[in-house]
Amino acid sequence: MTTEATADHDEHGEHGGDPEHPHADHPKWLQHHWDTPAQQFDAAKLGMWAFLGQELLFFSGLFVAYAIYRTWFGEAFAAGSHELNRTMGAANTCVLLFSSLTAALGVRSSQLGKKNETTIWIVLTIGCAFAFLVVKYFEYQAKFHHGLLPGTFFGTPRDMLTFEPLVGAHSPAAELPNHTNVFFSLYFIMTGLHALHVIIGIGIWIWILKRNLRGDFSKRYFTPVDITALYWHLVDLVWIYLFPMMYLIDYVPPGHRG
């Protein structure tokens, strides 16, 4: 920065030439407590990474629970895993990976100041998020109808929305090993918590989309797009671990079981 620019800066800080607009030389997206756009950007990213570190530790509690119960009830976990729909799980994995790509490309176009491209990538990301939830809904519905539910609800087929028992519906629960209910407890809490993150992610993306359409972002200021994408990648990261751990335990291809 030249001495001229530095002088400008000091003047605004100490004397604030115009009392009506004391931060007139700040871009409106640069909050008054930051000296420079770079400082604001780095601080925002640092804060987001601290939050993501917390998210990883938060999910790790459930992964530790998973590890313990899998060592205790390995057979039940394999049996429970075989009841899940691997095609749907794999499809959802691809959908989430693709949404991570579109999110990363959304950040890229917003770094370049290409507003319309950013809009397209964000809309695609939100679309993938909804597709993921629709697949998840049908998976959950099948589990409810087969009575493959957590804890004491295990073995009683239920309607997903009303949670009323379904009379006459068959449940494979009786043929499954003891403690398969533990697998489904973890399945529902882990995928459910992940799905909650997806839902929150959709909300944030819609807000970011609105701001993008309003013209809030530019080559100089794309921080919200960047850190929202960081959150979205974390949602993807959690699923990257959930998919093999839930769906692929001791997998025997169809036709080779027995």
């Binding site: 920065m1 030249t2 001229e4 620019a5 400008d8 030389d25 871009p27 409106k28 420079t36 770079a38 990213k45 640092l46 990474w49 993501l52 917390q54 990883l56 530790l57 790790s60 509690g61 992964f63 530790v64 313990i68 060592t71 205790w72 057979e75 691997r86 794999a90 691809c94 991570s100 790509l101 999110a103 990363a104 490309l105 890229r108 770094q111 004491t152 295990f154 009786a174 043929e175 090993p177 003891n178 080559k219 100089r220 200021y221 960047d226 960081l230 990648h233 993807d236 990261l237 990257i240 671990y241 998919f243 093999p244 751990m245 692929l248 335990i249 001791d250 997998y251 025997v252 291809p253």
Partner: protein, 168 residues
Amino acid sequence: MSDAHDHDHDHDHDEDGYGKDEVHAHIGSYKQYGAVFMALLAFTLLTVAVASVHLGNANLAVAVIIASLKAALVCTFFMHLKDDNKFNSLILIAAVTFIGVFFALTLNDVSYREKLDTQSGNRIYLESGDKAPGSWDNPIKKEEKKEGEAAPQASTSASAAPSASHAP
């Protein structure tokens, strides 16, 4: 945004026309992002394929290693850690390290407790049959036992075979 103060008169501006206090993001190429995505899909196929190969306990290890490779790709390229402030990478490494400590201490505790009684689903001391630390009252098993007293239960065939092999 053109409402910002104008740095065009600066002499030491960068090629983007703004000063060094501006955010300078590394712009990844389409090619790079596409390649990372294809690698992630390939690893997904690999993890599905490997899951059908019987490796015993190694199956879980292989699944975790492949998932970690995928996670590393996402963090490095999609989350920009490659070109980012290194302190952000440090936060991630610190979080992963403490997750490792969490796993190591908890699994160490759990693996060296007393044996699992497959009939009650509980941890007991082998000599006395008393409940060991970490055991709990399992409400589900109690119900099943009551049913079992009335009549030999149908699910015995499913649970008896594994219990027999694990019974001390």
